[in-house]
Structure formats: structure tokens, C-alpha cells
Symmetry: none
Subunit: 219 residues, 2 copies
Amino acid sequence: MRVLLVEDDMVLGSAVRDQIAADGHSVDWVQRLDAAGDYLRAAPYDLVLLDLMLPDGLGLNFLRKLRASGDVTPVIILTALDQISDRIEGLNAGADDYLVKPFDLQELTARLKAVARRYSGNPNPLVKIGELEIDIAARTIMRSGKTVTLTAREWALFEAFLQHPGNLLSKSQLEETLYTFDAEIESNTIEVHISRMRKKLGAGVIETVRGMGYRLEQS
Amino acid sequence: MRVLLVEDDMVLGSAVRDQIAADGHSVDWVQRLDAAGDYLRAAPYDLVLLDLMLPDGLGLNFLRKLRASGDVTPVIILTALDQISDRIEGLNAGADDYLVKPFDLQELTARLKAVARRYSGNPNPLVKIGELEIDIAARTIMRSGKTVTLTAREWALFEAFLQHPGNLLSKSQLEETLYTFDAEIESNTIEVHISRMRKKLGAGVIETVRGMGYRLEQS
DNA sequence: CTTTTTGCGTCAGCTTCCTGTAAGGTTTCG
DNA sequence: CGAAACCTTACAGGAAGCTGACGCAAAAAG
């Protein structure tokens, strides 16, 4: 993986560069933002590590311009700012992840791996059920090549099935995964969710056992 | 997934609660440690998010006591401390993971998933009877590799046999497992159910003892 | 801020198939 | 042989489940 490191602190920069190199990636290290722009224009990178440097918004502006220009290279921002609002601002500006200084280098390694997995090659382990390919970590389901999007509640239910493969789950069990106190729901909420999921996942994935509950098809 | 959030900061707490809810989980949010103890005693949770709040060690003590009491619920600690040694102390106290404030909500989501996944996937014990493999928790019966599906009533009867291995069960006893009230059934309902079960489970599994009742084949 | 979209709980009408009953066949045993 | 006990099949009724529609509220878009 090719990494561009934008960091003005010489000590931190060299430490990060060495760590990334030790992880087996190639690193270009620049100290200034305008130089970073040149590097990005010259060659493609798989990841940019961007130190926001000073809280004057220059780093964020750089990131916004980069995104506005259509560049989708994953960016992890490094920041000493400890306000959540700044972090969110960074993510809104188009960052993919962040690291708060001081961070330890193992954490950096972990983030690198995560981003690398997310954006390149074949990533997380897949669970296959019939014609479905499920990436639990990414919350992604592919159904014969097409992406299936589940809502939050639907995912919660689907996850409950995945965690108990082949098990029969009663409606009350499923309700408990959605609601804190078993509110003795006098309606068919679960049935409706199951119905909506079946429409997305296809028939035959979730089996009904009359009077007892539901079960996920195995393998 | 059922999550207990222990957080005294109202702003951060509500943000975290909303994020967890958006991920499709149910959340109970308490502001004080002793309340957290009550909640944990009252109901099982799949995960505890514990803010250490102040660096006076109270949160860590709470965690240590929890572990000492035999509770193994996964715990992620939230901490403002940015010293690696403090994180290690938290992990030693029995935490499963940690998040350093301020943290990104997506990060929280990722950790939730990771912890939830780490603690799932425990296979159920199997009971073997002849060529049948029975998973009582999953309410699943495998007959020479193929899944056998029993209806609600059939499973209720089968469970009665399983709970009294080798015992002879009279028809009236079996009727009582189906009808809580003494429903004085004037027909051959049990016989019919037994017949239908034998068709699914195979001959020789349920033995008839003329004039007395039925018995499940041993071993 | 207003408008539009989306998620989700509820309801009502429809469909499915479980289940109790009965009727006739088969086995067991005096 | 005959009666009692049990087995098996068929069937109707109704409970359990399915799904399109609606409304509200929250989020996203403008």
C-alpha cells in the first residue's frame, strides 16, 4: 500500500513513517500542505495520513478541496484537537477516520489495516447463506451481485439470526433485541419486519416455524 | 443487542445513546454507578459501556467488583485519560476494550460490533437418540443429516419425553403438557400426534406400552 | 426554515397450515 | 373370535402468520 504522510512535526513524522514502513507499506513524507497537493496530483496513493497541524482550518480546507476535486483517496486525519465538534467537522470534510494525538503506533497499524481492508482487495470474511454474501463487519449484504440495504432494526434482527445460526428464535426473543423492556407489544411488529426483510433478502432465507418463531436458513 | 450505558455527561450520553439506537440496539442509560449495579442485577445485558468519569478509580473499582462477582458481560470503558498505562489498568480490571474521549461515533459502532461478535458463536450441546441429533436450545432435530421440523405441539410433547429420559409417560400426562387446564379431551389427540411425530422421527423412536402410555427410546 | 424522504409501528383483510375430531383399519391379548 | 387399545388417514375450522396501506415522527434535502 502506498501512503502519503502529511506531517510537520519531525519527531512524530519520522516515528510514523518508520512504523508504516515496518508494516510493509511504502511512504512518502511531506511537511507542507501545498507539497501534499503536488504529490497527490503526481501519483495515486492508497491512503493519506493528514495532520491537521494547527487549528486554523487549513488542513480541513485542504481536505475539502481535495474532495471537491473528486479525489476519493482514503484520508485519516491526525489531530491534537480534543473537541468532538472538530472531529465531526473532519469527518464531514471527507476524512475516513481519525487519530487523536498522542496515539500509540499499534493503533496506527490497526487503522491502516482497517482502511486498507475497507478500500482495497478483498476485505472482511464473508458469510454465505444461499445466494447471499454477508460482510458482518461492514454491514453489507450482496444478493447475487447486487447490494441489499437493511435498516437499523432489520440489521439488528438479522444479526440476532447470524449470532445463533440455525437456532429457532421466538418472537419475544426477537423483540428483546429491539426493545429494552419487553413492552408486551400487542401488534405484529416482528412479522412486519420479517416480511420486509424477506422482500429484500429473498424468500427461503428466513423460515417460519408456526407457533414457535423464525429460523435462518443454514449454510 | 442490549446495551447498558453508564455515563454522567448528559450531552455525550445522549449522543452515544442515539448512536447505539441508530445501530438498532436497545439502550438503558444510567448516570450513576450504583444505579448501574441495580440494572445489571435486574436484567442481562450484552454489553456495558462504562465511563470511568473521574480519574479517582471509582469506575475501575466498580468494574473490578463486577468481575469479582462472576459477571462476564463484555465491558467497554470510556475514558478521557490519554495515558496508555491507564488503558492497560482498565483492561487489567476486566474491560474488554476501551475508547478514548473524544471518540468518533462510527468508531463506537465498530467496537460494539467487534465485542458483540467476539462473544457470540457458542455451539449448543447436542442430545443423541439413535440416529437423531437434538439441539434443545435451537429447537432443532437432525435425522441422519437432514433437518426435521416439528410443530409447536409436537415439540412440546417431544420435550416432555426428553425431560424424562426413559420414563413412561401416560396419555393424560402428555395431555397435561399440551393443555394447562384439565381439558378432559375426549378424543385420540395424543395418538394422532404420536403418529405424526413417528412419521417425521422414524419408527422405533417412540415406543408404545399398551395400556400404559409411551416411552422414548434410550441413548 | 420548509419540503421531501425514510423508517417503523399499527391495522385490516387475506392466506396458510396446524390441530382436534371422527371414522375405519390394524394389532394385541384373553 | 371378540373386544379393547392403538394407528392412520382425511377433513373442516380457526388460530397464526403474511402483506399492502396508512400515519406519524425523525432525518435528510433544499
